[in-house]
């Protein structure tokens, strides 16, 4: 286990020791992946199956349910277990023991977004333009008036009382306790494809069709624009200290600094860039100031949020389909498009090369 001393020791990151990588065949290509606080994972496969396993025994996979078509969103629930929404319009609740409940029965509209409040009290689901709210047991609590267009992303604020929904034309904020009340609309032209809320509650950030991030500082509604991506930003992850927002979509893993006033005038920290291959996934370590990034060519690397160095993890040679840390930060999981789940045991710490050293490694 990582010690506090290690955490404070400066330029150190978790280290992959020899023989500490395990590769598990999932049975088909994964299209969505999540890991819950109890070290259970759920992989949604391209044949519709939802397969669960544990870090302790990752090769003992259990088929818990199946979508007719693909799963579009899989999230872990704060109390353990998962929620999966699919093209069949069905939202499936998977309990930690693998028991399955239909939260939304199959229907016409794809379930394209879902979120759970951090306290586990609420689950929000988007079916087309509809925003549905449930309690943790799956009891329906209500429905918001329809959004102006299909909801593409959902997130609760850190207190779990408000829900942000991204769609064409911006992001709409509603109160979980008053869904029908007048919403706060955060407008910005164009199509918004996903949304996140800063851990301090002050910023809402969306990913746009135009390969940018757009942010709103809620206290004064200042707009914030973060650009420079080669692809749409699909993965967003906040560091454990709540200060840095890590993003996919660029040739380097990109970290925006949200301390104080926010990222205005501060260039982002970046790591992992080699030949222009884009970052497909990012995942912030649950406790250390460390971010893991998976590139489209299968390269997995880690960098420190303070830019004090980076450390390679693996070259998987396959496009990643997700990236997640276990809740204790000891294991990093990366499913790839060839249907493999790679698990990296990273409980040891190592010193990392100085900034820039990694870039000269393995020119290609």
């Amino acid at each position: 286990m990582l010690s506090e001393e290690a955490l404070l020791a400066g330029a150190q990151t978790p280290k992959l020791a020899a023989g500490r990588q395990r590769d598990i065949p999932l049975g088909s290509a994964p299209v969505a992946f999540a890991l819950d606080g109890g070290n259970r994972f759920l992989a949604a496969l391209d044949d519709g199956r939802l397969r669960c396993g544990t870090i302790a025994a990752p090769d003992e996979l259990q088929d818990v349910a199946s979508h007719d078509g693909l799963a579009l969103v899989v999230i872990a629930l704060p109390g353990g277990g998962f929620l999966s929404g699919g093209e069949d319009g069905r939202a499936i609740l998977v309990a930690p023991d693998g028991a399955v409940t239909d939260l939304v029965p199959p229907g016409r509209h794809w379930i394209g977004a879902a979120a759970a409040s951090p306290d586990g009290k609420f689950i929000a689901i988007a079916a087309g333009k509809r925003l549905l709210l449930f309690d943790r047991g799956g009891k329906a609590l209500g429905e918001a008036p329809p959004a102006p267009s299909t909801i593409t992303g959902l997130v609760f604020n850190p207190k779990g009382k408000r829900i942000a929904a991204s769609h064409y034309g911006g992001v709409t904020l509603r109160w979980a306790g008053g869904l029908a009340g007048s919403p706060l609309v955060l407008p910005w032209k164009g199509s918004h494809l996903g949304v996140t809320w800063s851990p301090d509650g002050r910023f809402v950030v969306s990913a746009t069709q135009e390969r940018e991030l757009h942010g709103w500082r809620l206290e004064d509604m200042q707009d914030l624009k973060m650009t420079g991506y080669g692809a749409k930003v699909r993965a967003l992850s906040w560091t454990a200290d709540g200060r840095w927002l890590a993003c996919s979509g660029g040739a380097a893993a990109t970290l925006w600094d949200f301390a104080g006033k926010g990222p205005w005038g501060r260039p982002p920290h970046q790591f992992g860039e080699t030949d222009g291959t884009l970052v497909a996934g990012v995942a912030a370590h649950p406790r250390l100031p460390v971010i893991a990034a998976a590139f489209e060519d299968g390269r997995v690397t880690m960098g420190r949020s303070d830019n004090e160095g980076e450390a390679p993890v693996a070259e998987l040679g396959q496009a990643p389909a997700g990236l997640a840390w276990s809740a204790d930060g000891a294991t990093l999981l990366c499913p790839t498009e060839d249907g493999t789940l790679s698990l990296f045991d990273l409980r040891e710490l190592g010193t990392v090369p100085p900034p820039g050293a990694a870039a000269s490694r393995r020119p290609r």
């Binding site: 290509a29 016409r108 267009s149 299909t150 064409y168 910005w188 032209k189 199509s191 746009t208």
Partner: protein
């Protein structure tokens, strides 16, 4: 990885889109399709993989006012592309009221969709019995669907006389001089005339239609046009050849086909004299900036001064792409040809602008 071809089927309600769709699905043996429909209609569709769309039209936030895309199509195609190897091609059926431009522009404006798929052709099914009435009523959608077509399936010809048919076809040509028109009943068009057209592929403009645009003598013949999309001012002008052919052919010539009772029409322009590439670029760029909302589609083969190769370009509204392709044949005159299909086009101004592009 080969990009998956996408065929877009448009046409008014009742024109016979679904019948044609089912023909493609049942007759293309050994080929598997993914089908995107606007709504599950009364006629069932015989296919394993059908996705229903919402026709959500979005403006891109990129400063281009006519750059609209179909947000639902981006999501659907994105999801379809995760089913690798499950199908060979995609058919997209739109509603009778859909504007084809956002559909076409989706493939241009979204890089990920453009990398995984390619728009093969826009096929518009026209009901011979009702199309004149639709056009007389000033139906914007009916005009746009005809104007946007690479292939027009003139359906239900058994229900109208030959004289009517000839008149209808002239009117369709007036709107869209560049499309192939196929007469048929019950959608019975050979499928190789609908599929694998490569209609947005620059190379195939040259390969398939030596006579090309606006040649009135061949108005009765079927034309095939090919395009490929890119972004505004995506021209490649790195060539610097030094040949100086003296062209003594007569000046410019322009033809405006058909009657003037439809808002949308085609304007074809020709020139036997070589053009100045820089002047043309400035002109076409400014034209599409100012009139891009009116000009639905444009395409051309151009002879630039001191260039041995044909410059080919095509555009959808403001988005154009062009490049040098194969050399001009040595034994043929180099005729630059250009067509605009658009609403309320000022033919005289276009002709004057084009004329001013002649190399001095």
């Amino acid at each position: 990885m080969d990009r998956v071809p996408v065929t877009v089927l448009t046409g008014y309600l009742g024109a016979g889109k679904t019948t044609l769709l089912n023909r493609i699905l049942t007759e293309q043996h050994g080929k598997k399709y993914a089908v995107v429909v606007n709504e599950f209609g009364e006629i069932g569709i015989d296919n394993d993989l059908i996705v229903e769309s919402d026709e959500e039209v979005f403006e891109m936030n990129n400063g281009c006012i006519c750059c609209t895309v179909r947000g639902d199509l981006i999501r659907i195609l994105g999801s379809l592309m995760r089913r690798k190897g499950k199908f060979d091609a995609i058919l997209v059926e739109t509603t009778g009221l859909a504007d084809p431009a956002p559909v076409a522009q989706t493939f241009i404006a979204d890089d990920e969709i453009g990398a995984a798929t390619k728009l093969d052709a826009v096929v518009t099914v026209v009901d011979a019995r009702h199309v004149e009435q639709r056009l007389d009523e000033g139906s914007k959608e009916a005009q746009e669907q005809i104007a946007f077509a690479d292939v027009i399936v003139l359906n239900k010809t058994d229900l109208v006389s030959d004289a009517d048919l000839a008149r209808i076809e002239r009117r369709l040509r007036g709107i869209n001089t560049a499309a192939e028109i196929h007469r048929c009943s019950r959608g019975a068009v050979p499928l190789d005339r609908l599929l694998d057209r490569g209609a947005f592929d620059l190379d195939r403009i040259l390969e398939l239609d030596p006579r090309f645009l606006g040649d009135r003598d061949s108005a009765a013949a079927d034309h095939v046009h090919d395009e490929h999309c890119g972004h505004l001012h995506d021209h490649d002008h790195d060539h610097d050849h030094d040949h100086d052919h003296g062209h003594d052919h007569g000046g410019h010539d322009h033809v405006h086909a058909g009657r003037h009772d439809d808002d949308i029409a085609s304007v074809s322009l020709k020139s036997a004299e070589p053009l100045d590439a820089d002047v043309f670029n400035v002109w076409i760029g400014k034209l599409l900036q100012e009139k891009g909302a009116q000009i639905l589609r444009s395409k051309g083969i151009l002879s630039f001064k001191d260039q041995t190769e044909q410059f080919v370009f095509q555009g959808v509204h403001m988005m154009i792409e062009g490049d040098y392709r194969k050399p001009w044949p040595k034994d043929e005159p180099r005729i630059s040809r250009l067509v605009f299909i658009g609403r309320d086009l000022d033919e005289a101004a276009l002709a004057a602008g084009f004329e001013a592009c002649r190399a001095q």
